[in-house]
Amino acid sequence: MNCSTIASEHAPHPYRLIYRTAYLILLIGCSTAMLAQNSSKPAGSTAASEVRAIHLLGFEGAKNNAKGELSIKDNELQFQKDGSPAVPVNIGSIQDVLLGEESRETGGTAATLGKTATPFGGGRVISLFAHKKYDALTVEYLDGNGGFHGAIFFLDKGQGQAFKDELVAKGAHVTQTENQSARQSSPEVNSESK
């Protein structure tokens, strides 16, 4: 017994080095994971010039409910659906950018069918957890004839504000105050307006 303790205390140098390296790797790994968890909340606040978005409606030339990349390039706001050419709008023509919050059910038609087919009302339980919150970015702009357009994009939560800030920095007009965006966020409430 004595022999074994002595052996571990006076382990040869290469083993001690391996132990220390292993501890160090574990420590770095854990802290990286923790930092990643913490920073996952404002994920979009770093690089906002190109974000993944769902185009709900209103962006001329883009299909409704299309998923793609929303980006700011030069003086244009562009939406590019996967595998399609980008649809641009001049940032100078943007009249207002508004931010809200929307919740949307995930999974699409397949999930809806699956939930319907689930026995004993299991689909309802799935529905409880199958929702995702998005930042709803509303962009109001004018076309070449002066016609008013409004486009709505759903961005991953936390990305909307950074993207809006970048648009404003590039020259997009914003007529309403910041409080407006807080007021207009429509979490799923039940009260009746008016």
């Binding site: 709900l56 409606l57 209103g58 508004l98 809200g100 929307e102 919740s103 949307r104 059910e105 699409g108 038609t109 809806t112 939930k115 309802r124 529905s127 409880l128 929702h131 709803a136 509303t138 109001e140 004018l142 076309d143 004839n145 002066g146 016609g147 008013f148 357009h149 409004g150 486009a151 709505i152 309403q176 407006q180 007021r183 207009q184 966020s185 429509s186 799923e188 409430v189 039940n190 009260s191 009746e192 307006s193 008016k194």
Partner: protein
């Protein structure tokens, strides 16, 4: 026997005559439709007025955009223009569609999915078709709801579809005869509940 032959010949001739006459009748109909179409109104969709209702801007924009699309789909109007469009000044017979939100009940998609009976998103608007000089020629109160499936914003699509449908079904005066002092046709569409089952 001879009489039978004669009878069948007459019937055959009559049928042939109908076939000959029918195609010429169709273009005539189309021509009248075209001439009537030449006198159709154009419409300019105005921005949605939220009134006293605290309505998210995404809802206002969604109503506006859906109205534009749905009115275009009905083919009731010669042209559907956006507010601010400079081309509108040259359009002779132009109506302006004004929409004011009267009531809004924000629902919950989760509650709809879980309970089925609660969580409906409800919208009620007053839509007015006015001439350039502000005379209201049609006024309606229209609902748009989402009761079962679909996101909250789906209510705006249902609402726009109902507005377009009621305009399509309402008789409008001929563009040439501008309405003078006739009162606006007011129809209270209390419950056009066209709930959507599609997402």
């Amino acid at each position: 026997m001879k009489a039978n032959k004669k009878f069948s010949l007459v019937v055959l001739a009559a049928v042939a005559m109908i076939f000959v006459a029918w195609p010429s009748h169709l273009p005539a109909q189309a021509a009248t439709a075209d001439s009537a179409g030449a006198k159709r109104w154009s419409v300019q969709v105005d921005k949605v007025d939220p009134g006293d209702v605290n309505l998210a801007s995404s809802f206002q924009i969604a109503i506006y955009e859906n109205l534009f699309d749905e009115l275009d789909k009905t083919k009731t109007f010669k042209q559907v223009l956006r507010t601010g469009d400079r081309n509108a000044t040259d359009v002779p017979d132009l109506l302006i569609l004004k929409t004011t939100v009267e009531k809004y009940t924000p629902g919950s998609e989760t509650r709809r999915a879980v309970t089925t009976v609660s969580g409906a998103t409800k919208l009620k608007v007053r839509s007015q078709l006015c001439t350039r000089d502000g005379k209201v020629i049609l006024e309606q109160v229209v609902d748009g709801n989402v009761r079962f499936f679909g996101s909250n914003l789906r209510a705006t699509h249902n609402l726009a579809r109902n507005v377009a449908k009621t305009i399509q079904e309402s008789p409008l005066p001929q563009p040439s005869q501008e309405p003078t002092s006739t009162p606006a046709q007011t129809s209270e569409v209390s419950s056009i509940l066209a709930e959507q089952f599609e997402r």
